[in-house]
């Protein structure tokens, strides 16, 4: 089974929403700033519930905030770019 990777656009979305800080997003979603930071840096994959809460803050569908990339897909992308 290939390892799954979840990428996100949270940083970009925060910037587009009046330069929202990590702390503000954390307060709106009910988690700590460290958790938002870990999600942004790809160190933590949020639960489905938290992912929906984040998407709701940005008034965006889930797919706009998070994207699923399997290891095989990322390898193929890397090969294409080489």
């Amino acid at each position: 089974m290939s390892k799954c990777l979840i990428s996100n656009n949270i940083r970009k979305l925060r910037f587009n929403h009046d330069e929202m800080t990590q702390q503000q997003l954390a307060e709106k979603t009910g988690v700590t700033r460290q958790t938002i930071m870990a999600i942004e840096n790809g160190k933590y994959s949020p639960s489905l519930e938290l992912a929906f809460r984040i998407a709701r803050v940005f008034h965006a569908p889930l797919e706009e905030v998070f994207a699923y990339v399997s290891e095989e897909d990322s390898k193929q992308t890397d090969n294409k770019t080489l």
């Binding site: 988690v31 700590t32 460290q34 958790t35 840096n41 160190k43 933590y44 949020p46 639960s47």
Partner: protein, 148 residues
């Protein structure tokens, strides 16, 4: 260093200090000059029973002192909020400490199976509990830094 990591570090240091001080106290108060007590089951039972509340009380006091110092230095309150990531890290670190303590338990029982004196069993149990606790805290720092 994040607030949680600081709290964990305080917890590790306090665990080491508490066990070292308690061991020294018990050694000087009861064991020095009376080596026969090492095979007394009542002594070990009392030592274990007293260690648990003493360690809990000392940990609470140390964390209160840390919170006060943290407030004075940084002018920030310590966060008591535990979100889903904190809970997941807690669960993973508890699993590590559980396996380490189980290993220690089997080693202590093994010492009896191979005819070692009873104090070996008690020392192994205390050491495995201590190592499990330190490993659990260390694992938390690892997960906070490297991610889940």
């Amino acid at each position: 260093m994040e607030q949680k990591e600081k709290q964990i570090l305080v917890s590790i240091i306090s665990s080491i200090v508490i066990l070292a001080s308690y061991s020294l106290y018990v050694y000087h108060k009861f064991m020095a000059g009376n080596p026969g007590i090492i095979n007394d089951f009542r002594f070990w039972g009392r030592a274990f029973l007293i260690l648990i509340p003493v360690a809990i009380m000392a940990q609470i006091i140390i964390h209160i002192i840390f919170a006060i110092i943290h407030k004075i230095v940084t002018d920030e309150d310590l966060s008591t909020k535990n979100d889903e990531r904190d809970k997941l890290i807690e669960l993973k670190s508890i699993r590590i400490s559980h396996w380490l303590f189980t290993l220690g338990f089997f080693l202590s029982m093994g010492s009896q199976a191979f005819g070692k004196p009873p104090w070996v069993m008690f020392i192994t149990l205390i050491c495995s509990g201590f190592i499990a606790s330190i490993a659990s805290e260390g694992a938390k720092i690892f997960f906070y830094r490297k991610g889940l």
